[in-house]
Structure formats: structure tokens, C-alpha cells
Symmetry: C2
């Protein structure tokens, strides 16, 4: 009984550590704390510009519409500089990202655009407010 | 009658120019074509880092939750570089943006963070696929 009492006290103690209880809460919420947020910055060879965009739009659309774990793949072109693309990418977790890499639409994108991309930077980001994301992104519950 | 015929022919001619008819179509779709998409890139003075983020998170949350025309204000910090922020901002149209600038929470943000910002770049962007945005952003209908 003494051991049981110790365990109960220990659990009560843990629940008072904010970081620990928050950790539990985050892990519980469908692993969304493990989300990956990234901005991809690309420069495209001018001769492939239109063709590249067409393939990218298709890839993003397929991913967002058919993959539960793809919260956002949102491609934009810069207004002030030609042939430059930025893509906001959000994956629910590491597995969702790895699954995404295996899809036919991503494979098609990757193999067909390899020669079109002059430069690619992948910037890993942290969302500052994962709570308010629920009010922005449809798949962020 | 000759003038009328000329006008009709001119209008028919215009409707065959893809850019022109696309323009008309976009204006019809609830003015969503007029949306503003922007990435703000900031560098913050180290001594204000935590304080700046707190004010930014508050401003973004208030805007997203209370302004219909704010489709997205999504602040991120770079993982690889200290004191660097990127914010994806989407406003439903020019008026929504102007209204946003007048809100107390934006005014509070602007006046309190002015001294904290070492560098600010505002990059105007075009969404490549305004259709698929509906599947990403809650307020993009």
C-alpha cells in the first residue's frame, strides 16, 4: 500500500509540472504537435517556367485533396521577381510527410521537375501559435 | 447602326482574349481574385525577441479570430536562424486589408513593435491555384 501511495503521489506531482502535462496534452491531440512546417523557396529555369508551374499545381492539388496528413501545400509566385516560387508546406507529422514522398503525384513531380529547378532551399519553420492554426487551416483540428 | 455593329464586334473580340474574359470571371467570383497574398520577412533585435513574439501572436490571433476578411496571418520562426520571422498573410481583398490596418490590435502591434524590428521585407505573392485554396484555408470559400 505504501508503494501504491507513492505512485499516486508521484503522478499527482507530475501533473503539477506544466511542461509535463502540456506534453501529454499535445501528444494526445492526434500527434499534431509533431507537425512539420516548411517554406520551400525555388528558382526555376525560365524556359521551363509555365511547364513547372503546371506540374507543381497538379502535385499540390492532389496532395491537399487526397492526403489526410497534408495540412497545407500552398504554392505562390513572387510578384517582384520572375521565376521565383515559395511554397508553404505543413504536414501533420513525420509519418504524413514520409507517406507523401511515396505518393505517385509527388514522385511524378520530383522526377519531372528535377531538370527545371535552378535552386531549391528548404527552410524548416516553427509555428508560433499552434492553437490559432485551428482557425486558419481546415485540416488543423 | 454601323457604330452599334462596331461595338458588338469589339465586345465579341474582347471576349476572345483569354486574359480579358478570365478577368471578368475572377471579378464575378465574390471578388476573391482581389485577395492579397504576402509573405512578411522580419529580423528582430535579440533583446526584444520574446516580447516581440508575444505581441505578434496576440495580433495574429485577434485578426484571424475576429476579422472576416483576414483569411490567414500565420507567423513562423526560422529554425536555422535566430531572431528571424516569416508571416504568411492573406486578406480577402484590398478593403479587408485596409480595415485590418485600422483595428486596435494592429495599431497596438505596430506602435509597440516598431523599435523591435531590425529589418522588414514585404513580399507580394500570387497564389498559383486559387481553387485548391478552398481545401486549405477555412475562410477561403
Amino acid at each position: 500500500m505504501k508503494i501504491l501511495k507513492s505512485i499516486i503521489l508521484f503522478v499527482l506531482f507530475l501533473s503539477y509540472i506544466p511542461a509535463f502535462s502540456q506534453g501529454l496534452e499535445e501528444i494526445d491531440s492526434k500527434g499534431m504537435n509533431k507537425q512539420l512546417v516548411r517554406i520551400a523557396e525555388l528558382e526555376i529555369y525560365p524556359e521551363y517556367w509555365e511547364e513547372y508551374k503546371e506540374i507543381l499545381i497538379f502535385e499540390a492539388k492532389e496532395s491537399v485533396e487526397n492526403e489526410d496528413g497534408v495540412v497545407c501545400i500552398f504554392p505562390m509566385e513572387m510578384k517582384s521577381e520572375d521565376f521565383k516560387i515559395k511554397i508553404l508546406e505543413i504536414y501533420a507529422n513525420q509519418k504524413a510527410y514520409e507517406d507523401h514522398l511515396k505518393t505517385p503525384h509527388f514522385q511524378y513531380y520530383k522526377s519531372n521537375t528535377l531538370k527545371m529547378v535552378k535552386e531549391l532551399k528548404l527552410l524548416d519553420m516553427n509555428a508560433l501559435d499552434t492553437q490559432t492554426m485551428q482557425a486558419i487551416f481546415k485540416k488543423r483540428k
